[in-house]
């Protein structure tokens, strides 16, 4: 506790740095995943190919990926861009599956009804498919957010400052309180992000609270699928 009291400023600065590393990958990853998920869901052939390729990308361990990044991007080795891009790749790899599942979870009858009412494909996507797949997308985004916040700490190992600095410094100076503070701060950010996402979900998807029974199951199943990597 005494360590925390005397280093409150440092911890706060690192939390801000950490968040600035995490937010771009979560948002950009989400935006990239929607069109890819749509393509994956639209054609049977592309679904298999896209999910396999992204599965392999997700398989690349984080430290090697951080080390490969300067070669691929041509950035300096200590640039934080390396970490941001690598985290975005992981976010996309996780999120596309949710996007594809979410878009696939929309009732076919509803889609036909929308077409029958004269919606064009474009309108139908924005006004029917995307909003109705919201709960599954949200579940996927929550997983992405938690894993991004935790993975960003690894950046410190390759010299990109984040909350991981507290782990490394704590090891060198043998201060368990510092390491513990780092872990708690990471969990705190993860919880805050998660609550914000849930809140955002309530605002953007006000209908999803009432319509629990069937969709909740889909959401739960898709979360487990993400966790176990089950499915095709």
């Amino acid at each position: 506790m005494r360590w925390l009291e005397s280093n409150l400023g440092l911890v706060w600065d690192l939390m801000l740095t950490h968040m600035s590393l995490c937010i771009p990958p979560i948002i950009i990853g989400f935006l990239i995943s929607i069109p890819i998920g749509w393509i994956a869901n639209r054609y049977r052939l592309t679904r298999g190919v896209i999910l396999v390729v992204l599965g392999l990308l997700y398989t690349i361990p984080s430290i090697p990926l951080f080390i490969f990044m300067p070669l691929i991007l041509g950035t300096p080795q200590l640039s934080s861009l390396n970490v941001v891009v690598a985290l975005t790749i992981y976010a996309v790899a996780l999120m596309v599956r949710s996007a594809s599942d979410g878009l696939g979870s929309v009732d076919k009858d509803v889609l036909q009804a929308a077409s029958a009412m004269g919606y064009s494909g474009w309108q139908r996507f924005w006004r029917v498919e995307l909003p109705l797949s919201g709960p599954v997308l949200l579940a996927g985004l929550r997983v992405v957010s938690a894993s991004t916040v935790s993975l960003a700490t690894i950046g410190s190992v390759i010299g990109v400052t984040s909350l991981g600095y507290l782990f490394i410094n704590g090891l060198q100076r043998r201060i368990p309180a510092e390491v513990l503070t780092g872990i708690v701060s990471v969990l705190l950010i993860a919880v805050v992000f998660d609550l914000l996402l849930v809140l955002l979900g309530r605002l953007v998807l006000p209908w999803s609270r009432r319509d629990r029974s069937v969709r909740a199951k889909t959401v739960a199943r898709s979360r487990t699928a993400v966790l176990t990597g089950a499915g095709s």
Partner: protein, 245 residues
């Protein structure tokens, strides 16, 4: 491109291959961590997951536990344990066991949950005891999802085992952290290529295993209902219109 060649040159250099600090030995250490941790985790998580899946009790706890662990930073946990247990192989092993538990737990209970309730009722109806229902119906039918859970825990641990080198626990990460200290980029790159290749090979083996190990007649349940069923009851199928109410 030149740097990539240097990375491969590092891998192919006979000096780096054999011996107690060559990459073959380090790679075996990485594998030992992976399978050791997953085996210990499986002994803990599989019975627990089966219990949750069979009784349906504690499901919410299991779900939020598996979800919450995602946010736990493995590097922090590793270092905290290393400060307590000392450097060496013990702290990494404990860390990896903790990391490996959630996916296996999720795979075990999701496997049981995926079994059609009517199948279980049928098994009871033909006189199977509760134990028989578990061992002859739920375990085989839940196998694909359990293997899926084992697969993702192996992949997670094999990737994270790289961190063991950070607390003097050996494995392939030792090369990477040594390379950072010496500013030897080709070595970091070479070791990174090895870690990535190892992860991809394990992924391939498990993908194959997942197909082979599943008993014939058991199909991984694709999310079929999700795609086609309507969430509303259909007029043709039921709920006749009742008058006067």
């Amino acid at each position: 491109m030149n740097l990539i060649e240097q990375g491969f040159a590092w891998i192919l250099d006979p000096e780096n291959i054999s011996g107690p600090s060559g990459w073959v030995a380090r790679l075996l250490e990485q594998l030992a961590y992976t399978f050791g941790a997953v085996a210990i985790a499986a002994v803990i998580a599989v019975p627990l997951g089966y219990l949750v899946g069979h009784t349906g009790k504690g499901r919410d706890i299991a779900v939020s536990l598996s979800g919450g662990f995602r946010a736990l930073p493995s590097l922090g946990l590793l270092i905290l344990l290393a400060l307590g247990l000392g450097i060496g192989f013990r702290a990494p092993l404990v860390t990896f066991v903790i990391l490996a538990i959630p996916p296996i737990l999720a795979g075990a209970y999701a496997g049981f949950e995926a079994v059609d309730r009517r199948t279980i009722d049928a098994a009871r109806a033909i006189g199977m005891t509760e134990w028989q229902v578990v061992t002859r119906v739920e375990v085989p039918l839940g196998l694909p999802l359990l293997i899926g859970g084992l697969r993702s825990s192996v992949l997670q641990v094999v990737a994270t085992a790289t961190l063991a080198g950070y607390v003097a626990g050996g494995a392939l990460g030792a090369f990477i952290f040594e390379a950072f200290a010496l500013r030897d980029y080709p070595q970091a790159l070479g070791a990174s290529i090895l870690v990535t290749a190892l992860a991809l090979v394990l992924e391939g083996i498990f993908a194959l295993l997942q197909k082979l190990v599943v008993p014939r007649g058991v199909v991984v349940k694709e999310q079929r209902e999700v795609r086609s069923r309507s969430s509303r009851t259909r007029a043709v199928m039921g709920t006749p219109i009742r008058e006067g109410k």
